[in-house]
């Protein structure tokens, strides 16, 4: 299983802060397609995905036990 986190405006869009999903073996691109089907609008071009606390690329592959975070545009400082 993959653990998924949603932050800030994305948590409000999805209605959940975190969940688990059977996405092991999928690419980050596959993850995006799954997420957009479940939560239309999440894939808006400015949201980044982090896998195990590092920004990920579209062809990175998810492994069982990975932690994924959807990172909307940051606004710290």
């Amino acid at each position: 299983m993959i653990r998924l986190f949603y932050f800030a405006g994305l948590r409000e869009l999805t209605g959940v802060a975190e969940e688990k999903a059977a996405l092991a073996g999928q690419t980050v691109e596959g993850l995006w397609q799954w997420a957009e089907a479940k939560y239309p609008g999440i894939r808006n071009g400015s949201v980044r995905v982090a896998v195990n606390e590092e920004y990920a690329l579209a062809n990175d592959i998810l492994q069982d036990g990975d932690t994924v975070a959807f990172i909307p545009p940051v606004s710290g400082g």
Binding site: S46, I71, V74, S75, G77
Partner: protein, 146 residues
């Protein structure tokens, strides 16, 4: 304290200045970013910050390493607060020490620019008539152009 931390407690900037001070340092710059009441004519009541804490702390440390690699002899500490912050509160503190002042200023500004680019921390502004996650274009108050 940790040299790179996200904390729900009020930030004491002196702790970070003390951390970076060394005998070789002729200069220490300390930047503190504060909650501002007025932004483009809109009055903020308070701010709420949230972070993906473990990743944010890793990214703050990465910024510290970038600085120490780019400017020899520097030492860096950064703290960012999360939770509800009131007007005037310190949201972020960045301390940089360096043998000479010019680098201490430059590297300190570099740190805040990098924080705004890549550290997973989000700010929500709460106004009298609405609220908005900054960086997110949804939930504008009626007729407001921001």
């Amino acid at each position: 304290m940790k040299a790179f931390e996200v904390t729900a407690e009020p930030i004491n900037p002196q702790a970070y200045a003390d951390y970076v001070l060394r005998p070789e340092a002729g200069a220490v710059t300390v930047f503190t970013g504060h909650v501002r009441e007025w932004t483009k004519g809109v009055r903020t009541l308070y701010l709420a910050y949230e972070a993906y804490v473990p990743m944010a702390e890793k990214k703050l440390a990465e910024i510290g390493r970038e600085i120490e690699d780019r400017w020899e002899g520097t030492r860096v500490a950064i703290a960012h607060r999360i939770g509800e912050l009131q007007i005037g509160d310190i949201a972020v503190a960045i301390a940089v020490s360096s043998p000479h002042r010019r680098v201490a200023y430059e590297a300190n500004e570099y740190a805040i620019e990098r924080i705004k680019e890549m550290v997973p921390i989000w700010k929500k502004e709460i106004w009298e008539d609405g609220e908005e996650w900054i960086g997110d274009q949804k939930k504008k108050p009626e007729g407001e152009q921001r």
